[in-house]
Amino acid sequence: MKTKPFAITLDPGSSLANRTGSWRTVRPEYIDRLPPCNHACPAGENIQGWLFHAESGHYEEAWRVLTQDNPLPAVMGRVCYHPCETACNRAQLDESVGINAIERFIGDEALRCRWKFAPPLSATGKRVLIVGAGPSGLSAAYQLARLGHAVAIREAGPAPGGMMRFGIPKYRLPRAVLDAEIQRILDLGVALELDSRVANVLDAMRRGGFDAVFLAVGAHIAKRAYIPAGSASKMLDAISVLRSMEGGERPLLGRRVVVYGGGNTAFDMARTAKRLGAEESIIIYRRTREKMPAHESELEEALQEGVLVKWLSTIRQAGESSITVEKMQLDARGNAQPTGEFETLEADSVVLALGQDVDLSLLDGVPGLEVQDGVAKVGLDMMTGHPGIFAGGDMIRGERTVTVGIGHGKLAARNIDAWLRGATWVHPASHEFASFDKLNTWYYSDAPKSRQPVLDTIRRQSTFEEVVGSFDEFTAQFEARRCLSCGNCFECDNCYGVCPDNAVIKLGPGQRYEFNYDYCKGCGLCVAECPCGAIRTVPEEI
């Protein structure tokens, strides 16, 4: 026996022999929660996922993650009304993260560097017809082509893009950006036929030997309102005027233009009229600012450019160079009611922007296919009542934006792919929601939101140059780093640091952490001090 000092009978031991994990009544667990931005995105983008790469300056990786869900980031970064930013938790701290502007930077970076989509690994031998080359059709074509299906798009118009080209003005979406992003989808081997109207779906499917079809014809027929009008009055509809902006000849609207309606199209129309030389561009809308369907940013930008808005007003009569407007008031239920008060406004032309209907004639005689409220009816799987015919975008029920259309295209593609394989696509289970109260915001330093540069007002009133400018790389990265990473570990080492018992094991970069339950006493410090709410406590079975 080894000699020990006086009065010592045991060899020195390590406290590791004392498994303090047995003290625990609750245990911490790492989880991933669903961040509000991802939750709100109509295109189902993994926003936080691509911001993570952008924070590190890895823009190509960010772009690859982004384009898993949306093939048009440079377009989206310009025209999306960004519900993600409305939902952003950071808005409760200072201001939301400028997701839209970062998306635009990444999209532009991809175009500048000419990054290409990875081609499919193998062909499935299945053929899918897509009717309409708008956002929804292009999105579905992209997703299906990446899954190895042969895709053909038939477009009735002279150029692809749908409302992105024929509805959204150039000052919001330069056509070079649109063309380049569409071309990248076509480079995947998608066949595009222009000026090719599909009159009968079943016929087209049979003759082309297609296994499935995705309908995304959009909503192009302007709604009319009955307005008594003199023979000399000039009445136009906004959809036709905006479409004609793509042609060589500019529409003649006169010096005083009145736009009737309160949607995004009405604002695009009024701003276009201003640029075409109208001295006065006035929007007449029968309800209030709070009730208008147009997005607030459209209104703000229109007002900056000198567009005038008359709320609570309807057009009762249109004459040669003037219109009669009746004032409205809201009743108890919030509906606009006439007051009997009239006024006369000078107007060289009246442009109607009262919404659009869908031309559903191509669906005539398709067995099983149902039409409801002027739109095609689809199930949760985006399939119409006729097997193999799917539909999306503006021609089905839902909000009519580019982003929603892209989301429909992706969802339809996944279901079409499953259907072609004789399977059913099941939406993966969502994580629990990462609400603001799950965060420990003490750890986030103050950082004001970055602003995009804006064109001079004078040039906004006379040219079709793009109004909103891009971020430079520094600003884009700064803005990306404002992301709080709600609900998902971003490896800040806080849990690893704050554990008084060294019971958190750091697994290394990109590998996150593990709990050592042999020693974790269940104090909950890691849960309380996790900035982003990626740890939860669960009761221990005792």
Partner: protein, 335 residues
């Protein structure tokens, strides 16, 4: 300023680590190969602030001294929970002698190292507020006065916790302990003159004095690193909340420490050669009530009717700290 926050990174550098920061700006605690000086299996309570503070400080000291460190420990929680015979949680050379002589033992080790010509080996003495403010005060003052080459670290949990929560001279006014029960007119610990040891240490004009809390790791590590750049007597006073003695949730240890600083009750500062050189500004000033209310030891102040007079007196203490140490940005501007 010893520590400059970097504002461009997702969470600044307030978090323990940050994947976007270069290695030299990350904390010692973020390192996968940190010493873990105080290892798992120790018998400290759930959420112990002292266990956390001790690992933070000693790991940083190990890093700063190239792992050539000896520690002398006073009696107290830290000693009892880390070394029940024959086990130890310490992964450094460590010695415990008596309650009151940690500073003297450390002085002896430093002298021995000097005799052996080992100027690479550095010495740390550590203890709780009982071993520092009360029982070991004479030895500590002597160590300061002789300017012995020792870094003394006090983990202040404001009472004798391991013997069952008794009052020490660091226990704040009105706090309930088992020797200052919340009975009668002056319920809890009485309002004395206080015994603010960092100021006493500064009065010795020793090379370096600093205070820190377990809520700000980067600041704490920077101060340990700075302390190791000096030879002679140095003193760091770390506020370590005690879930058991203070009566707060085990998950709230760091939050409480943060509130102590943000209310102004615990000034976080640095002094060199007896002169105040740096204070951590309050990020967002909070009333002391925010700090007092979550702690059971102050629960008697919030019964019906609440003791507004006592809360106001504690607020005055915080306000005096804020003025004296210029803890708010605008105070400095006005001055």
């Amino acid at each position: 300023m010893t520590y400059q926050p970097i504002r461009f990174y997702q969470t600044g550098t307030f978090t323990v680590g940050n994947r976007l920061l270069p290695d030299d700006q990350r904390s010692v605690q973020a390192n996968m190969r940190r010493t873990n000086s105080l290892n798992s299996g120790h018998r400290a309570c759930q959420g112990c602030g002292e266990a956390l503070g001790a690992r933070y400080a000693i790991d940083a000291a190990m890093e700063a001294t190239n792992r050539q460190l000896v520690a002398a420990n006073a009696t107290g929680c830290l000693e009892v929970f880390s070394t029940p015979y024959p086990e130890t949680s310490w992964q450094i050379p460590w010695i415990h002698s008596l309650f009151g002589n940690a500073a003297a033992v450390a002085t002896g080790i430093a002298a021995a190292m000097r005799v052996k010509g080992r100027d690479d080996v550095r010495v740390v003495a550590q203890g709780g507020d009982g071993g520092t403010n009360d029982i070991g005060f004479g030895c500590l003052s002597g160590m300061f006065e002789r300017n012995d080459d020792v870094l003394y670290i006090c983990y202040d949990n404001e009472g004798y916790m391991n013997t069952g929560v008794q009052r020490s001279s660091a226990t704040p006014p009105a706090a309930r302990t088992n020797t200052t029960m919340p009975l009668g007119e002056s319920a809890g610990n009485r309002f004395g003159q206080g015994k603010y040891l960092p100021a006493i240490a500064m009065a010795h004009d020793i090379p370096y004095v600093a205070t820190a809390t377990v809520a700000e790791l980067h600041d704490l590590e920077a101060k340990v690193r700075r302390a190791m750049e000096f030879r002679g007597a140095r003193y760091i006073h770390i506020l370590v909340p005690c879930p058991l003695g203070w009566g707060h949730g085990s998950a709230e240890t760091i939050k409480i420490a943060r509130l102590a600083k943000e209310t102004g009750l615990f000034p976080v500062l640095e002094a060199e050669g007896g002169k105040l050189t740096n204070v951590s500004k309050i990020k967002k000033k909070l009333p002391v009530e925010e700090y007092l209310r979550p702690q059971q030891r102050f629960a008697h102040l919030f019964r019906d009717p609440p003791r507004r007079d006592v809360i106001d007196r504690i607020q005055q203490m915080a306000d005096r700290n804020i003025l004296r140490y210029r803890l708010l940005e605008d105070v400095e501007r006005r001055a």
